[in-house]
C-alpha cells in the first residue's frame, strides 16, 4: 500500500489532501530539505528560508498561472516574454512618460493581461492551437519589449515600486508575501469556485463541459488572460527586484513555470491541477537551486539536477498510479 493509493481508496482527510497535492512532491521536497540541512550548515535558517521564498517568488507566480491554463489542457509558452514586456511597459510608464507609480503598476498588470487576452482570443476564436499562439506571443512580446526599450534596460523605478521588490516589512521580503498571497487566492479560486472547477472540467472532458452548459471558449479566454495578468505581476515584481525594466527578463521562465506545475502534480494534459502542488513544485526547484548554490555546485549541474528531479517526480507518480495514467 502506498501513499497515493491509500489516499485514493479512502475517502478521508488523507484523500482530500491527496486530491489537493501529489504526496510524492511533498515527500521529495521534505527529503531535499532534510538532505540539504545535513549537507550545509547554512541551509537551515530563517533568513535562508526567506531567501528561498524570495528567489522562488517570480517563477512561482508564473507557475500559478500555468496551473490554471494546464488544468484546462491548454499551454502558455509566452509567460516569460510577457513578464519582460510587463516589466518594461510599467518601467517606461513611470520613466519615459513620467506617470505616477500606481499607473505604472496598473500598466504592468494590464499589459500582461492584454497579452493573455490576445492569446485566449486567438486560441478560441481563430482556432489556432494554443502551443502555436503562445509560441508566437513568446516572440512578439519579447520583440515588443526590445523595440520599446531599444534593447536597453530601463533603470530606476520610483520608490514605492522598488519597495514591491525590495521591501522587507517585519523582515519578510515583500515578493515572498506577494507570492504566498497569490498562492492563497489562486488556490481558493481553483479549488473552491466554479471558475476553477470549470477550468479543470474543460481540461478533463471538453465535451462534458460543453454538454453541461459551461461556456468553454469564454472560459479559456479568461484563463489565458489570468495567466497573462499573473505574468504581468511577475514582471512587476521581477523589475522591482532589480530596479529596472529589463526587456530580456524572464527568458526561459515559461519552462520553469510549467516545470513547477508538473512537479506539483498538475497533469500536463489537463483535468488535474493544484495550486498548492505548484507551490511545492516551485519550492522544490527553489530549494534545490539554493542548496546547490550554498554547496557551490556549478550552475550547469543545477540545470541537470532540476531536470532529473522533474522526471523523477513524475515517474514516482506513475509508479503510484499504476497503469500509466499520466
Amino acid at each position: 500500500m502506498n501513499l497515493a493509493s491509500l489516499a485514493m481508496r479512502r475517502p478521508t482527510a488523507l484523500h482530500s489532501l491527496g486530491n489537493m497535492i501529489r504526496l510524492e512532491s511533498l515527500v521529495v521536497l521534505l527529503l531535499l530539505i532534510l538532505a540539504l540541512s545535513l549537507a550545509s550548515p547554512y541551509f537551515l535558517s530563517v533568513s535562508n528560508a526567506l531567501n528561498i521564498l524570495l528567489a522562488t517568488s517570480v517563477i512561482g507566480i508564473l507557475g500559478f498561472g500555468a496551473t490554471f491554463v494546464i488544468a484546462a489542457a491548454g499551454i502558455d509558452l509566452s509567460v516569460g516574454s510577457i513578464l519582460g514586456f510587463g516589466g518594461v511597459t510599467g518601467a517606461l510608464a513611470v520613466n519615459a512618460l513620467n506617470l505616477p507609480w500606481p499607473i505604472g503598476i496598473m500598466v504592468s498588470l494590464l499589459a500582461g493581461a492584454f497579452c493573455g487576452l490576445v492569446n485566449g482570443l486567438l486560441t478560441t476564436r481563430a482556432r489556432v492551437p494554443a502551443f502555436i499562439v503562445t509560441l508566437g506571443m513568446l516572440g512578439v512580446a519579447r520583440g515588443a519589449a526590445l523595440v520599446l526599450t531599444n534593447g536597453q534596460p530601463v533603470y530606476g523605478l520610483p520608490g514605492p515600486m522598488v519597495w514591491l521588490g525590495q521591501g522587507r516589512p517585519f523582515g519578510v521580503p515583500l515578493p515572498a508575501v506577494i507570492f504566498l498571497g497569490v498562492a492563497a487566492i489562486t488556490h481558493f479560486v481553483l479549488s473552491r469556485t466554479r471558475f476553477g472547477k470549470y477550468a479543470l472540467v474543460i481540461g478533463d472532458n471538453q465535451n462534458a463541459a460543453r454538454a453541461t452548459g459551461i461556456h468553454v471558449e469564454r472560459h479559456l479566454v479568461a484563463l489565458y488572460t489570468l495567466s497573462g495578468f499573473l505574468a504581468g505581476l511577475a514582471g512587476l515584481v521581477s523589475a522591482a527586484r532589480v530596479n529596472s525594466g529589463d526587456p530580456t527578463a524572464g527568458t526561459g521562465y515559461e519552462l520553469a513555470a510549467i516545470t513547477a506545475a508538473i512537479l506539483g502534480g498538475t497533469n500536463l494534459f489537463g483535468g488535474r491541477a493544484s495550486v498548492v502542488g505548484t507551490l511545492i513544485g516551485a519550492l522544490i526547484m527553489g530549494v534545490l537551486q539554493n542548496g546547490l548554490n550554498l554547496l557551490a555546485v556549478s550552475s550547469f549541474y543545477q540545470q541537470m539536477a532540476i531536470g532529473a528531479v522533474l522526471v523523477l517526480a513524475v515517474w514516482l507518480d506513475q509508479l503510484n498510479r499504476g497503469r500509466g495514467r499520466a
Binding site: 481558493f188 466554479r194 472547477k197 478533463d204 472532458n205 452548459g213
Partner: protein
C-alpha cells in the same frame, strides 16, 4: 395522453433524407426501446428531439408544447435529458461534482460577495440522489475515473435526475458493461419508470430491451418499420424488422 409525440418528422441533409416521416409517441413512465441498424437514423432522430437539429418537416410535441424553434437548453428545461454513450463525465472529478456539474450551488465566503462552491451541500444532495436511485456507488467522493463502467453509468443517470426530467434518453447504456453491471443499470431503468419518468433506450442488446422495455420501435432507412408492445412480439420478429427481412 402521450408525453412525447412525433408526427411525420422529416430531416434531410442536402439531398440525403435521414428521417422520412417518423411518427410515434411515448407515454409518461413508459420505457420504449429504439432499435435499428447503424445508419438507420437513430442518432439523427435523438438529436432532432433534443434540439441539436431542427427538423425539416413534421411536428414534435412534448408535454403539450411544440418543440419547434426551441434550442437544446430550453428543451432540457422542459424535461428531456439525454445521456450520451460517452456519458460526458469528468473523470478526474468526484461523483458529487459530476452530478452537479455546471450547476454547483454556491455560498458566500465569510459573507463577502465572493461565491464559493458549497461542497458540503453538493455532497449531501448527491448522496441523497444516489441513495434514492439505489445506485451502487461506494462514495460520492470517489473520483469518477476510478469507478467501473456501470458505476459511471449510474452517475450519469443520477446527474440526469437532478434536472427532474420527464423523459430520459439513454444511448447504448449497456454496450460496454460486464454482465453483472448490465443488470444493475437495467434496475436503474426500472427505478426511473417507477418514478414515472419515461425512458427511450437505444440499444443493440435485445435481451436488455425485452427485460425492461414496454414497447419497441424499429427504425430502418429513416422510417419506423415496427412499433409494437414487447408482450406482443418476439426477438426474432424484431430482428427481422431491423434487417428488413419482413
Amino acid at each position: 395522453m402521450s408525453l412525447l409525440a412525433l408526427t411525420d418528422v422529416r430531416m434531410s441533409f442536402g439531398p440525403v433524407e435521414a428521417l422520412r416521416g417518423v411518427s410515434f409517441s411515448v407515454a409518461e413512465g413508459e420505457a420504449v426501446a429504439l432499435l435499428g441498424d447503424n445508419g438507420a437514423g437513430k442518432s439523427t432522430l435523438m438529436k432532432t428531439i433534443t434540439g441539436i437539429y431542427r427538423p425539416s418537416g413534421g411536428a414534435i410535441r412534448f408535454n403539450g408544447q411544440d418543440l419547434k424553434d426551441k434550442d437544446p437548453g430550453e428543451i432540457r428545461r422542459l424535461g428531456i435529458e439525454m445521456i450520451y454513450q460517452d456519458l460526458a463525465l469528468a473523470r478526474e472529478q468526484d461523483v458529487a461534482s459530476n452530478i452537479f456539474l455546471g450547476r454547483e450551488p454556491t455560498r458566500r465566503l465569510l459573507g463577502l460577495p465572493i461565491r464559493m462552491i458549497d461542497t458540503a451541500r453538493i455532497e449531501a444532495e448527491a448522496e441523497a440522489i444516489i441513495r434514492r436511485l439505489g445506485a451502487r456507488v461506494p462514495s460520492v467522493r470517489y473520483r469518477v475515473g476510478d469507478l467501473s463502467g456501470g458505476q459511471q453509468q449510474s452517475v450519469a443517470i443520477a446527474r440526469a435526475l437532478t434536472f427532474s426530467p420527464k423523459l430520459v434518453i439513454m444511448d447504448e447504456p449497456t454496450a460496454a458493461l460486464a454482465v453483472r453491471e448490465v443488470e444493475h443499470v437495467l434496475d436503474l431503468v426500472c427505478e426511473l419508470k417507477r418514478q414515472r419518468i419515461a425512458v427511450i433506450l437505444i440499444s443493440h442488446r435485445l435481451t436488455d430491451v425485452f427485460a425492461v422495455c414496454d414497447r419497441v420501435i424499429a427504425l430502418r432507412q429513416g422510417e419506423v418499420v415496427a412499433d409494437e408492445a414487447v408482450a406482443k412480439t418476439s426477438m426474432n420478429e424484431v430482428v427481422a424488422h431491423i434487417v428488413g427481412a419482413s
